[in-house]
């Protein structure tokens, strides 16, 4: 038998000290930010019946953390808040006036399919806007995603916007059959664009179309790129999808947010339920999207509630990673009482705490010990209480 008492299980970790504080702070800031846009906070159970999360048609879902309860029912830790919120909406909002706006900051759990050393527990923050299918809600959701990153102090990022049925429609325009579509989709999922291209050659698409499709997978660009794509595919019905993207761009232009937008038809998400505009936000220094979102108009139908919806999820752990270097270290004081006048030091310390200072009362009797401890633990100064007086000993070089 192995004893794992001192280990944490794969994919989960501890947060201590400044890192824990930073995480807490990011969560609070994001939550407050979203609340101020009028989004209602939801908290859902950490685990629920597996049926809530198993939204695809297969039963095998190797990325879910599943459990069996005493009654023998299958449960799963939530892998995504959208499913839980869909259940909430479908059961509680049937007769309510729409749209409903929800926000959340919660931990979600999933097995990364292969990697070692990548998290299984993620903190996600996000919003869901339910019951409005218009371009206005697309704009609102993308705008909030952009503004919340700006408010957190993330400076350079780009919002990659695509359209989830665009490729599907193009495949239909090209009269590909179900089997062919699946094979192509599989190569896209695997991000294997060499086999992708080879396969397109094999099914004898013309060279221009192969180049266009490969380009769609590997390129991205600003408004001019979108115009080029439109021109190239003008005769196909898929180009109609592009109008929504133009509209989105022009709305964001009015808000002076268009500089963040990059059009990109290769973006692909963990969640497969998207039906319209789909977007991911990337920033330097993080090898994965910091925000993923999009429209999922047919998803709620699976829960018996037919309403359009759009939302995004934000990777809070990623944000913590990005903001780590910008933590402002709080000043910390250590205090020691060298006589019996505990009340004096207590009142004095509390006065300082009210001003927002951090004061740690040390448990040593001996001044030298306190200084040694304070220096090693990086306290700024030591407050020494004696004879109804306070003396401040500097522990760090910089001034208070």
């Amino acid at each position: 038998m192995k004893n794992y008492r001192l280990k944490t299980s794969e994919g989960v970790r501890d947060y201590l000290g400044n890192e824990a504080l930073l995480k807490e702070k990011v969560e609070t800031n994001v939550r407050n930010f979203l609340l101020h846009y009028g989004y209602e906070l939801v908290k859902t159970p950490t685990f629920e019946y597996v049926d809530v999360f198993a939204t695809e048609d297969f039963f095998q879902q190797p990325d879910l953390y599943t459990l069996i309860n005493r009654q023998g029912e299958f449960l799963a830790l939530r892998n995504d808040m959208t499913s839980s919120i869909a259940r909430v909406v479908a059961t509680k909002c049937q007769n309510e006036i729409l749209p409903k706006k929800y926000c959340y900051v919660e931990n979600t759990f999933r097995y990364p399919l292969r990697y070692q050393g990548k998290s299984h527990e993620f903190t996600q923050a996000g919003i869901e806007l339910i019951g409005d299918g218009s371009i206005k809600s697309d704009v609102e959701v993308i705008k909030i995603a952009i503004q919340s990153l700006i408010s957190l102090g993330i400076k350079s990022f780009s919002v990659h916007v695509g359209y989830s049925q665009f490729l599907e429609t193009l495949f239909d325009d090209l009269k590909l059959n179900f089997n062919q579509k699946q094979i192509i989709q599989n190569f896209i999922d695997m991000k294997d664009f060499v086999s992708f291209k080879d396969y397109l050659k094999q099914i004898k698409l013309d060279k221009e179309m192969i180049d266009t499709m490969t380009n769609l997978m590997l390129s991205a660009g600003k408004l001019s790129y979108l115009e080029t794509v439109k021109k190239k595919l003008a005769k196909y019905s898929c180009s109609k999808c592009l109008q929504r993207l133009f509209d989105l761009y022009h709305h964001l232009e009015k808000l002076h947010l268009e500089q963040y937008i990059v059009f990109d038809f290769s973006i692909y998400s963990y969640a497969k339920y998207y039906t319209g505009i789909i977007f991911q936000i990337f920033t330097l220094g993080l090898g994965r999207p910091i925000v993923s979102g999009g429209r999922y108009d047919s998803f709620l139908k699976k829960f018996g509630f037919d309403a359009p919806a759009i939302g995004f999820g934000m990777d809070v752990d990623g944000l913590v990673d990005l903001l780590k270097d910008f933590i402002k270290k709080e000043k910390r004081f250590l205090s020691i009482v060298l006589d019996d006048n505990l009340l004096f030091s207590e009142t004095e310390n509390n006065k300082r705490r009210e001003k927002g200072l951090i004061i740690d009362e040390c448990l040593f009797d001996n001044l030298d010990e306190a200084i040694k401890y304070g220096k090693e633990k990086n306290y700024n100064s030591l407050l020494v209480y004696q004879n109804n007086q306070v003396k401040i000993i500097q522990l760090e070089d910089d001034n208070i």
């Binding site: 664009f193 060279k207 991205a220 290769s266 994965r288």
Partner: protein
Amino acid sequence: MITFALSKGRLANKIFQLLQNMNINVSDFKETSRKLIFISDDQKYRFFLAKPSDVPTYVDYGIADVGVVGKDTILTISEEKHNFSEVLDLSFGKCKMCVCGFHDAKNILNSGNIIRVATKYPNIAKKYFEKTNRNVEIIKLNGSVELGPLVGLSDVIVDIVESGKTLKENGLEILEEVDNISARLIINNASLKIKYQEINELINGFNQLLGDNDD
């Protein structure tokens, strides 16, 4: 700046030649040198040399934006999702991943019985036989895999075949082809998004050199 992770050895030499044709010079690099990190003369590209099987890992984690690695290495790890895209077939280092064995072993492959497979690439073998709906027992070997059928350890092997000479000399033959292997350009997905302009330039450069290999 774009960072490349390259497989040490033949592939790296080849890629520096290609880059030279694209006017990207790395005078730092010499075949005999033991240095691991190089910077191009125009300071736009950084290269480091890694063990081939580690190249996808560096690219996966975004430590390198771009990697050059054999398809076989990608296959060994890519049984599930990874965080990079396979973008170009650089069409050198060509060979084939095959199922090989004695001529008679064909019957075993189609018998529906459990097939014993010796290989250096257990993931590739597992995936291939899963895809073709056959039950296998996989035996991992570390070299001279051809011995498997010769000494009766396994019915067949899954291995890379270049010239087929070793097979022939031992009375074995190719029974089924699993995949075409060659050097591939892989790119971290986030780099592909964030540095799309530089990377597009790079891809186009390679494409022109390779003549889009449309044969």
